[in-house]
Amino acid sequence: MKSVLPVLTIVAAILFVWVLAVIPMNMHLTADQAQRDGLVVSPETPAERQDHSGLGLSLRNPSLLGLTFVQERPRLPSPHQVAVEMWDTIVMKKITSKRSLVYHGWVTLSATLLGFAIGTGLGILLAVGIVYNRAMDMSVMPWAIASQTIPILALAPMIIVMLGAIGIQGLLPKAIISAYLSFFPVVVGMVKGLRSPDGMQLDLLRTYHASPAQGFWKLRLPASVPYLFASLKIGISASLVGAIVAELPTGARAGFGARMLVGDQYGQPLVTWAALFAAAITAAALVGLFSLLERLTLRRMGMVRA
């Protein structure tokens, strides 16, 4: 809890810089709009205004400063505009509405969770295989590690199209991309965890003449739990990004990624920003949830490190 004040300070500093930046960023279009509304703007023509920077214009038109915060299509929305848009589309809209962020959030989240579950499940199985089968270890592990250096996300559009061609559409292709993105971090992390017990621990089990299965359940699996949680946290945020990106290429109509694209294409930046923040909050909530699960599990296992 010692960190609360520093964190709040940093967040406050970021908000402060954001609010300040709104003014020069929006000044050009504010001036244009003000001129159309008949207000006095200096300089008077758009052509002349082009020669000035946003900052320069702001200094010359102090009366317009307040207006930069309420533009309908701002270059940089102010924090309160984003908050209002989010409130509007999360709380004020019915969940069944096509504009509700809760609906879109669920579309993305469902793909994320499904993909994450598949990726994690398969990842754990493969990790066990790698640890107990040397041929699998030497064949697959180098690829698992190498795959972390490859931008797998670039495959997303193609996978959507391929699956679409054989009739799989909607939730499943997105889930498969999410699964793929969480798969390798889980494999690598789980292998590390299953291999973490040191020589001394393994020797002890040998003196008990324990079978490999007993060694697995009694030693390796419990020892791997901290590593598993670390990978789960990486995996869930990767899955979410995967689901969002999967919505982009085929012009999906639902989901966070789709909203970001729609906002962009239809010139409604507030929609894009609201979707972005909602996605960020979702990511934070998911990672936070797993952190909480981690703490509870490790505490019950007596593995809590202060």
Binding site: L8, A135, D137, M138, S139, P157, M158, A165, I166, V287
Partner: protein, 283 residues
């Protein structure tokens, strides 16, 4: 025909698996050559199965081209692939990487002077690093145009947080004893920073730099899905998908894979030289 295809594929798998099992459990299994050979054989087995199944099952090459077709496309489109590589990787990803890394170092060293700031930055930075920053791509395209500059900006923001968090964590990682030693020499902040804390932080810093290479690539490519001039890997992938020219998409993926592993490998090599003293580097 389907039966022949499946049995053939299983046969290829069996041969590959057999060879690898013999190698992995054989007497020379610890040799470096074997360590390289086994995954290569595994990869080749998969490629052969792919080629076999696609041809035998007469899969529509538009949807899933065989590896041979991809190879042909790769070679024939080299100039265009190179232009895309230049635009996305060199201009977009690497510029963004450089700016993001330098900015992260600067902030880390500034924050290092204050324990208060450090305690605030670590949680906030870690939080930001987990966010889908790729989603800021359309916003940057709006601000900076659809050229490589907007992609570099996305990459810069994406790599900033992991490098910042790792550097800050690394600078904190000295033991009380090492800091006391510096105090007994009457060493001030800057000598202490350069002689003790920065060298000790290198393993952490490189961890962040390696993670950042992958993020940079992803950021540059995916940002191009949101808008790009008529060149660039992300652009090529999304338009080729639209034209159902999937062999071109695969060719671009191959370029991305080569670029990704090379950059990561380069960073890992530099890491090995700089942090030669760390237990993880001394096998």
């Amino acid at each position: 025909m389907t039966w022949v295809a499946i049995i053939g594929a299983l046969a290829i798998w069996a041969v590959g698996w057999f060879i690898n099992t013999r190698l992995a459990n054989g007497p020379k299994s610890d040799a470096r050559l074997v360590g390289l050979l086994v995954p290569i054989i595994f990869g080749l087995t998969l490629l052969l199965m792919w080629e076999w199944l696609v041809r035998m099952l007469e899969v529509n090459a538009v949807i899933l081209p065989p590896p041979s077709a991809i190879g042909v496309r790769f070679v024939s489109e080299l100039p265009r692939l190179w232009a895309d590589f230049e635009q996305t990787i060199i201009k977009g990803a690497m510029t963004g990487y450089l700016f993001g890394a330098v900015a992260a170092f600067a902030v880390a060293i500034l924050a290092d002077r204050s324990d208060f700031l450090t305690r605030g930055i670590l949680p906030v930075g870690g939080f930001m690093a987990a966010l889908p920053i790729v989603g800021t791509a359309p916003i940057f395209v709006k601000w900076l145009g659809s050229g490589w500059e907007s992609k570099a900006a996305v990459v810069g923001v994406m790599v900033f947080f992991p490098i910042l968090v790792n550097t800050v964590a690394g600078l904190r990682d000295t033991t009380a004893m090492q800091r006391d030693l510096m105090r007994t020499y009457g060493a001030g902040y800057w000598p202490s920073l350069f002689k003790l804390r920065l060298p000790a932080a290198m393993p952490f810093i490189f961890n962040g730099l390696k993670i950042a290479t992958t993020l940079a690539l992803i950021g540059a490519i995916v940002a191009e899905f949101f808008g790009s001039p008529t060149v660039g890997m992300g652009f090529r992938i999304s338009t080729s998908v639209g034209q159902l020219a999937l062999d071109m998409v695969w060719a671009e993926i191959v370029v991305a894979a080569i670029a990704g592993s090379t950059l990561y490998g380069l960073m890992a090599w530099i890491e090995g030289r700089v942090t030669f003293w760390h237990p993880s580097q001394r096998k």
